[in-house]
């Protein structure tokens, strides 16, 4: 209820701004419609004018362009605020659980997919493209899942699919029992290479 009313009030505040931005964009797209043929100037003004009508038109266009840029920036800022607000409302810190994935080295394992189960319920099944795997190998950390859990004991099970050593199909699981407290819970699925065993290692790290 609180979330709905906050979002409604935010949208009410945004609506006139978006309408103005749209109107300005439309008028900027067709300057001929905005600025029709200049009306005949009074004789006194015409004789004493310091700048030509074309200079005035250029200055007007410049001002309009600045106004559009300003409005665009406002919309981007508001969108950012809305995103943060949405995250805070949908996943409050007292119930939030987030699971991240990171890969280190990756000589012995080529990641294909990860299936995530919390308390034996499927919560995520993610297929990785080569570009995503490459981003992970370059040090990227992916937020695989964010959701809500009540306080207490829970179990997370992660199933990793991919190609192991010698390009063989490889399927491994890792699980962790964790205590969800009052604050947000962050868990990290880490895929590393075990050089001595020449095998990949799958570990779940609980960020306290």
């Amino acid at each position: 209820m609180n979330m709905n009313s906050t979002l409604r009030s935010l949208l009410r505040a945004l609506w006139p701004l978006l309408l103005t931005a749209q109107a300005v964009s439309v008028s900027a797209a067709s300057p001929a419609d905005v600025d029709p043929a200049p009306a005949p100037a009074p004789a006194s003004a015409a004789t004493g004018a310091a700048s030509s009508p074309s200079d005035d038109a250029a200055a007007g266009t410049r001002a309009l362009d600045e106004q559009i840029q300003g409005l665009k920036k406002d919309v981007v800022d508001l969108n950012k605020d809305l995103f943060v607000l949405e995250e805070e409302l949908l996943f409050p810190a007292n119930t939030q659980v987030a699971v991240f994935v990171s890969v280190d080295v990756g000589d012995f394992f080529a990641l294909d997919s990860v299936t995530l189960k919390i308390d034996n319920h499927d919560v995520s099944n993610y297929l990785y493209t080569p570009r995503e795997v490459s981003a992970l190998l370059r040090g990227g950390v992916q937020r695989l899942y964010v959701g809500n859990l009540k306080a207490g004991q829970h179990e997370l099970l992660a199933l990793f699919n991919g190609k192991g050593p010698h390009d063989r199909d490889y399927r491994r699981a890792a699980n962790i029992r964790f205590e969800k407290g009052v604050g947000a819970k962050y868990l990290e699925l880490k895929i590393t290479d075990h050089q001595r065993a020449q095998q990949p290692e799958f570990e779940i790290k609980d960020w306290e």
């Binding site: 665009k72 294909d112 997919s113 297929l127 990785y128 493209t129 080569p130 570009r131 995503e132």
Partner: protein, 168 residues
């Protein structure tokens, strides 16, 4: 007789409107496993025109459609055209066997739970979807006329579209 014609016309209209509903709108994103090779995500091809052909081993016309798609891919891949074949088969092993039998040079993907087929509103096979560089659905064909010159004209129109300049 009249009633049958009316029912048929209404059904045809409904089918047309369902597929046409996507035209001019962003193509639903998806990630699917390929029969051979790695997973494919549609949004990673943003900036390139994409042609998707939905097929099934039970569809008699799909083989000819895939052959035509392969020909287009061979001709226009150097210009940046991406071609994807998406199976909406119930039996995955059958789809894999069919894909091996009709080896295509473009990725053949498996839509196991048919979620992609549903997202694109596929009602007939073969169906071909053409997506522009901005990721918007531009053309949809629910027929087997892949050899039709209109296909080539549409592919060329998508290739001729210059990528829009981004403000960011």
């Amino acid at each position: 007789m009249m009633a049958a014609i009316l029912i048929g016309a209404t059904a045809a209209l409904a089918a047309t409107s369902a597929s046409n509903g996507l035209i001019g709108r962003p193509a639903p994103d998806f990630v699917l496993p390929a029969v051979a090779g790695s997973n494919v995500r549609l949004s990673e091809f943003r900036g390139q025109p994409v042609m998707i052909s939905f097929w099934s081993s039970r569809c008699g016309l799909c083989a000819a459609q895939l052959t035509a798609m392969d020909r287009y891919y061979g001709t226009y891949r150097s210009s940046g055209l991406i071609v994807l074949g998406v199976s909406v088969e119930d039996d995955q092993q059958r789809a894999i066997d069919y894909a091996h039998a009709h080896a295509a040079s473009f990725p053949l993907l498996l839509d196991k739970d048919k979620s992609v087929g549903r997202a694109f509103g596929i009602e007939r096979l073969p169906t071909t979807v053409l997506i522009d560089r901005a990721g918007q659905v531009r053309f949809m064909h629910s027929d087997d006329r892949a050899g039709d010159p209109s296909y080539v004209a549409q592919i060329r129109a998508l290739l001729d579209d210059r990528p829009e300049r981004s403000d960011r």
